[in-house]
Symmetry: C2
Subunit: 229 residues, 2 copies
DNA sequence: AAATAACCTTGATGATGATCAAGTTTTGTT
DNA sequence: AACAAAACTTGATCATCATCAAGGTTATTT
């Protein structure tokens, strides 16, 4: 796969959700402008406060976006998976990155220069629409997170996360695989690893879920909805 | 002003930040499609979970966007002021409103049908760019809020909000007028009115601010930055 | 396969902020 | 101007979650 992309960057770009709408010609132009970036596990792509020049598409690996407070404590905002992009919003804002980006696996990304995407946007209303949809989706996700963040109980937050990750909302039983280490997921929920662990324990006690490593089996989705404390 | 808009809806639309880029012809088309909505203080425009059909531009008054939990407690996400729009992101998502909208003052809004704005977007890349910028800005704000929400201390959150509302970041002294009732601002910071009140008190004690009603005089912005508890 | 490191769990304690309650001030209405 | 209602403040108490600490488990490396 990795070689494939090296050889056929154009094809790889065309397969990305965001760029699927582009014409062959446009994809060609794009491919000529992007730069490949490789990161080893643990490496920092950019820090909060850095000046953005474009945006990134993750082709392979895993990147996490996080705030870091003065004391060095981290709060993970988002885990980026292959095919997803990040940093688009900054193209239009002229502000520094509000978060840091770190590779949690060996990664291959494409660095798309700002002017390239702005050029494409001028001419291609389909791409504009796609980007609007992408950013809107991101916005929606953030609203959900903020809502979760203002829900009182830690257990409720965890239950809520498990519901959100259901493959199908109508199912009452399903399995969820956590997208990252438990401490990372905890951080996304604005919880300490300890509290997260206890919350999972409580939900197990209540017979609502079964935990084995990163795989969580939801036994009673309806019960999760009714969690009070 | 209100009559003015009634007479000259086209002119009013052209003056709105989002639509300033439109041609006369486009503005004319838009004006023919929008519907005026008037709300009395306290009235609900839509509830969380409702199906959106378009988006809104606030011309006059004040609207607040909030979550409401099952128990009826409210958490204000945003206070919309005249000239601002909301609900754009839903145009691209096919999801229910994630928040409720309530008038906190008598209001006049324009209801822009989804298909109208999508039509305009097809042809006008300037508008697309403007919308992208608008939504990106919203996204950025939300990230800031989430970050604030994960900062530990309530007093820090209040101090942070006061810094953010500085008319000019380089000033060490300035006045801030809260955009809404204190309980609303408290809610935006994910605090109870009581805790908010105490935080303001603490900052006053420390000689960093002076409070008189909704007007807060910041005496030492640098000190605010260093607030620890 | 052994060793090391990272990750996770469980317990005990403490601080922060929510809640409840009562009083004060401000705002708005008649 | 007087009254009512909403908004705000202050105090006391309590619950939740973070922190600290130690032991256990799973991954990774050699």
């Amino acid at each position: 796969m990795r070689e494939r992309i090296g050889e056929d960057r154009q094809g790889a770009l065309g397969r990305l959700p965001l760029f699927r709408v582009l014409s062959t010609e446009e994809t060609q132009y794009l491919a000529s402008q992007v730069r490949e970036v490789r990161l080893g596990r643990g490496e920092i792509l950019f820090n909060k406060g850095d000046t953005p020049h474009g945006f990134y598409v993750l082709v392979e690996g895993c990147v996490q976006l996080a705030f870091t407070s003065e004391q060095g404590t981290e709060r993970v905002l988002e885990v980026i998976k292959p095919g997803e992009s990040f940093g688009e919003a900054l193209l239009f804002l002229d502000k520094p990155y509000p978060v840091s980006a770190q590779a949690t696996q060996d990664c291959m990304l494409l660095d798309v220069p700002g002017h390239t995407i702005l050029n494409l946007l001028e001419k291609d209303s389909q791409l504009a629409r796609k980007m609007l949809a992408g950013i809107s989706m991101r916005l929606h996700e953030l609203i959900r997170k903020l809502e979760a963040c203002s829900m009182r109980s830690s257990t409720q937050r965890v239950a809520c996360m498990l519901q959100h990750r259901a493959p199908d909302k109508s199912l009452n039983q399903y399995e969820v695989e956590l997208p990252a280490a438990k401490q990372t997921v905890a951080s996304q929920l604005n919880l300490t690893p300890e509290t997260f662990s206890r919350a999972l324990h409580a939900l197990s006690e209540a017979g609502l879920i079964e935990v084995s490593g990163r795989v969580i089996k939801v036994l009673d989705a309806d019960g999760l909805r009714r969690v009070e404390i």
